[in-house]
Amino acid sequence: MEQIGFLPPKAAVLARRDEIVGDLLDLLPEGCLVHEPRELVPFETDAFVSYRRVPLAVALPETTAQVAAVMKYCHRYGIPVVPRGAGTSLAGGAIPQEDAVVIGLSKMSRIIDIDYANRTATVQAGVTNLAISDAVSPDGYFYAPDPSSQLACTIGGNIGMNSGGAHCLKYGVTTNNLLGVKMVLVDGTVIELGGKALDAPGLDLLGIVCGSEGQLGIVTEATVRLIAKPEGARPVLFGFDSSEDAGACVADIIGAGIIPVAIEFMDRPAISICEAFAGAGYPDDVEALLIVEVEGSETEMDDMLRAIIEIARRHGVKVVKESQSATQAALIWKGRKSAFGATGRVADYICMDGTVPLSQLPHVLRGTAEIIERHGLRVANVFHAGDGNMHPLILFNANDPEDAARAEQAGNEILKLCVDVGGCLTGEHGVGIEKRDLMRHQYAEVDLNQQMAVRAAFDPQWILNPSKVFPLEGRPAA
């Protein structure tokens, strides 16, 4: 198995290392530049830990003006820049390269404005996802997209990846909840897109920036939508004898015009792993589990649940477990949200993120099982079923290079299967380096060329996070 490549470091940049560090020290306040080799190590990777590259330096600016100054400097000398939030990317989106300056937003973690009358929060890009909901929760509001990594990941990273979460079935992903950004363009120009007024005229630049993986500019502030918290929320567990039954049940719930806040799926291995870790009370005698969450007043929840339970019965549901208290509800979610962490304790894993049309769920689950078996590996499936966003966790032993190569190979085959049934390579984690070389499987050359052309409209020299998203060969000449 071939290793995923990075662009070769620019010799001219490496040669000027000391000079660059000196210049950056001049541009930034004290304590805002990391350049000692030992101190650079924590920045060498993200949550896609199989790949590491120590950067040239890490700038940790405190203001938009400082971001702009560093960006302008790097632009002038053709130095690659890799934006970084909390480094929780599962796709290698935040992994640096040897000739790059990382611009980390961790010091820009202030909530700037909370405006309930207009239902918006304006925050600096380094604010964590959960910090926004925490800040507004006492007043009855929340910020909807809720990646499982929400305690750590930043809003800037969420924008970079257009992140989703369990509750996105009803409320949408980051792009649907993002109203505006302040960002620094590659030449250091600062622009503002959108804001509290909806739907600015002109091209939807905000829409293209969201999910652009740090390739179009560096977001320094964001204005996001706040939503009034529902009166109540209640998750229910459904246990099935087969993944097919569970998959078909999901399609029927949606087909019946019912949109719960969340429909999460776990197969048997995932159930055991999560149960062992969280003691969430998941049944141990079923092959597949759905967590369906509804919200509203008691009457509304009763109404909706009755309809959902009826559909589940038609699919031979074996166990139905309604949560009786807030503590139980929290426990049910704790099991689900700790799935990645819990899996990490039993084995090394890579997490796939393909999305498929709902009708294809059972077929793709079967196909995944076959691929995994053929490679002699194990898999745990835990994912956002309501929108077809699958997360097979492929378990392997990182100390065994052959095993690791097999896992990567199996992952690629699963993703290709997702594309072949009309889905896509990644639903919420992004392309990064991980899926970069599969892009040609999903897109024809003209499709990719059009995307790269748009990228070049923002960054003609390919300075911003240049090793990511687009296959290294066949790029337009800078």
Partner: protein, 403 residues
Amino acid sequence: MSVIHDPLSEEATSRIIRAAVAASSPLEIRGGGTRTLSAGGAGHDILSSASLSGIVAYNPAEMTMTAKSGTPLDDVEAALSECRQMLSFEPLDVRALLGTGGIPTIGGVFATNASGPRRFVAGAARDSLLGVRFVNGSGEIVKAGGRVMKNVTGLDLAKLMAGSFGTLAFMTEVTFRLLPVPETALTVVVSDLNDAQAAAAMATAMSMSVEVSGAAHLPESVRGRFLGGRLADGAATVLRLEGLSASVSVRAEKLTAAMASFGPVGTLDPADTAQLWREIRDVHAFADGTARPVWRISVAPTAGHQLVAALRLETGVDAFYDWQGGLVWLRMEADPEAELVRRYIKALGGGHATLLRAAADVMAATQVTQPQGEAIEALNARIKEKFDPAGIFAGNVATGARY
């Protein structure tokens, strides 16, 4: 005389575009042509989606549809209503307001990002657009996005297509997400509030966990033009609730109790609710058969009424509000007063004004879309150049779109 091309396929479209580039003869992209102002005005040849019509795939259980761009919106909505589904963003129909004919197309809806009352909670047309196929200004046939709800594979070019007003590429096919039609809907009406009180009432309603899906304020001056004058006397602040019947009545009770502290409260039944929100969507109050200038203004919800109050002191205007007060439909007595309108928008925290209607000569003399500043317009121009290097797509002269 301008020629009208209406290709039957993407390949034919591509040939037409390449020929136009070779002849340096700009093309104006047209869907249903429901806007008159530019039709043929600039004398460009027309590239029409009229013959690219038909629903390609509809899978209700996946809540997605794929249709060719020239498919009449009516056909799309008819197919959807058979399965009790809908476009969540309530595309507006401008024909009555503009006094135009033609048949709106699904491609035109996305090309204008046309979004109605539910937009402020359910997203705009752009949020529903999952994938597109288009032919760019070099005649290349390109696909972007896909047909699944969640997709972050590469740059989201579909977003750029939404609201591009025919300036980047000719869309041939669109794939979009759907929502179930709510089982029922009713409207809570709070009467006799002034604009500022209404803004406060709407903000309060939005702070409650009752899922208001429409929040509009119809001042006394326009109230009589809605629902054939059947709304109670005085201004009407209207709040829509949708969903399962039992749930809607519980929520209506809660909302009514909370709104009682603002003013007299009534409710509208599902039939009146449907009619009222359609009329709000289509700017019924100003569909008056005149050419008096009408602005569509988007600001922060709490700024809408302040903007109108400020303008009232200086000139004759009439207005009503959607999107919790953030969407202001503003009709001018005489001149568009673009400079004045935009100065106040800026003073109140920013936003944008689009001149949707005015006499042709007034349109031509006015900056109809909000200027966006040098840096952003430079970006728009560079992106346009990446789709349409020869500048063959003339854009929408009526909207003055220059990006």
